[in-house]
Amino acid sequence: MIETQQLRKTFNKGKVVAVDDVTFQAMDGQITGLLGPNGAGKTTTMRMLYTLLEPDSGQMRIDGVDPQADPIRIKRALGVVPDSRGLYDRLTARENIRYYGKLQGLAEDTISQRIDHFSDVLDMGSFIDRKTDGFSQGQRVKVAITRALIHDPRTVLLDEPSNGLDVMTTRALRLFLEQLKREGRCVVLSTHIMQEVAALCDRIVIIAKGRVAAQGTAGELLEQSGQTNLEDAFVHLIGSDEGLLA
């Protein structure tokens, strides 16, 4: 479970406010979507959660632990698929994943078992032992997801996971995320794509200009805005249609 309280982060000595005031919760066994236009502060919020950035002010708790107080423990508890999904081109997919398993401190056997498991679930058998040079976006995302989840984390953060994926891979990804949810994990994904949120998320947190504009289930958001479909609700809640077409 993730809780944040009035997170704030600025860059360039306070001149650029990336995250102004973000408060939200994400529950175990649910998929929570951070929805917002480009530049709204979704990635920065994520980066604070996975401890690569320190907030200027505000509180965070992941399963009751403050990421700033014990970053190593938090990193062990989180599975993160960040915006940057670079792989090592000269290593095979399996070697890429095994490297992360080692960095997580897992035993060789456990790593092999987990790789086989994901290879089945994500249908990677045909390319798991190929060098990742020349992989398609879809193949890369699958490898990135596997290496992020190699240590069986309870909480999963994904930053724009469906960026650059075709329809089939997006669908496979969606089924996979739903399975994670059924396993009782806390899944948080950020996106600017309305349909993705509507189809997938139990809770939606709308972020605009570094602030939480609204949050709740799809039904609650419709109610709050008085609109009949989610897209209109979104536009209504953030006050403009900026960034929606991106």
Partner: protein
């Protein structure tokens, strides 16, 4: 930490370009250039000394005795070219002797008879030939003056009030050392060449392919990740250094050392000592280049910084080349300079001064560790992690 180390080693060994550049061309380029250069220099000098001297003489008929003397010394007298000045300037001839009609008159009158040597003194390679001609002419002059004095009943020794004798106390090793003045540079450069690609690949490269951010999300202190990378980079530098030294030892075998009358002692024992001496510089180079490369956002940007860094180990070598001074203790405290002077001591065949060795290794290690520690803190700053932040 070891996981990072093994991954980086595997990753870079997979890259054929890296292996060829760092482990083949890197170690070989120094010895090959070096040996080719020295071999060429040595050959040139010996060739000029031993080859028959073909000497164009203008007005040979004015001094038949002199010409005959030269021929007795093995000089082949040639007919002069039509345009002697032109031939010298066009570098067709290195030296031309001109004897004027006054030669005979002056000779008979007992006045110094003029002999003109036409040379271009700006041509350094002609120096050997010119001094050979002068030696022959001097010998002839001495012979005649002795004869003249004897005819007048004077002992020729009287004209030599002093006798100069040079006792060259340089050992063959120390003469070799002069030629080897830029050997330290070639050795030091191997650790920079060896760590360059790896330093870029593990930092700027990691950023360019967007794999740094996910890497740092792993539950490892950032300095450990950096330490693993530095270890891998240093290993590559050491490997390049070792291969370079072996290549040098082998290459030295091809040098015509005996003709040059100097001993270039670089056997495997000295190479091992040199390795010991330069090993701390490998960590130094790895840390320095890693810090620089970490500032760069892309491989290309990093490479442009590297070009300048390669000049750093050159500075002490150049300085020693221009101003060769005795080794003093303070020099052994300065990283890179100390390796320079101590490698020179080694190849000159001087006994090993363990204090100097210790100081050099100690001071270089200290600086290297400071740089490594700085490198270890780099990833605590967000601007080194994100491609755009």
């Amino acid at each position: 930490m070891m996981a990072v180390y093994f991954k980086e080693m595997l990753d870079n060994f997979r890259d054929r370009r890296v292996v060829i550049n760092t482990l083949l061309i890197g170690p070989l380029i120094g010895p090959v250039i070096f040996v080719a250069l020295i071999g060429f220099m040595a050959n040139q000098t010996t060739e000029r000394l031993q080859s028959t001297l073909e000497l164009p003489v203008i007005g040979a008929e004015h001094a038949p005795e002199l010409v005959r003397f030269l021929e007795r010394q093995g000089v082949v007298i040639k007919a002069p070219p039509a345009d002697p000045e032109g031939a010298i300037l066009a570098e067709e001839e290195e030296v031309i002797v001109r004897l004027s009609p006054e030669f005979g008159d002056a000779w008979r009158d007992g006045r110094p008879a003029p002999v003109e040597l036409m040379v271009d003194q700006s041509l350094r390679y002609a120096g050997t030939t010119v001094s050979r001609v002068r030696n022959y002419l001097d010998a002839y002059g001495r012979q005649i003056s002795h004869l003249r004095l004897q005819l007048r009943g004077v002992h020729p020794e009287l004209t030599r009030p002093i006798q100069i004798q040079i006792d060259d106390l340089s050992t063959p090793e120390s003469r070799g050392g002069m030629v080897l003045a830029f050997l330290p540079y070639f050795i030091l450069i191997t650790v920079f060449v060896g760590s360059m690609h790896m330093a870029i690949d593990t930092t700027a490269g990691e950023r360019e392919r967007k794999s740094l951010e996910p890497l740092l999300i792993n539950p490892m202190p950032r300095w450990k990740i950096m330490a693993g990378k530095l270890m891998a980079t240093t290993s590559f530098a050491l490997l390049t250094l070792a291969l370079g030294l072996i290549a040098f030892v082998v290459a030295m075998g091809f040098l015509p050392v005996e003709e040059m009358d100097m001993a270039l002692s670089l056997d495997f024992r000295l190479a091992a000592l040199a390795f010991l001496l330069v090993a701390p510089a490998a960590l130094l180079a790895a840390s320095l280049l890693t810090i620089l490369a970490a500032f760069a956002k892309s491989f290309r940007e990093a490479q442009s910084y590297m070009g300048m860094v390669i000049i750093i180990p050159m500075i002490p070598s150049m300085w020693i080349l221009i101003d060769p001074t005795r080794t003093e203790t303070w020099m052994t405290l300065i990283p890179l300079l100390s390796q320079n002077v101590l490698i020179l001591e080694l190849v000159r065949g001087e006994p090993v001064n363990w204090l100097w060795f210790g100081l050099s290794i100690g001071s270089t290690s200290l600086l290297a560790l400071v740089l490594a520690a700085i490198a270890g803190t780099l990833y605590n700053r967000p601007r080194f992690i994100f491609t755009s932040a």
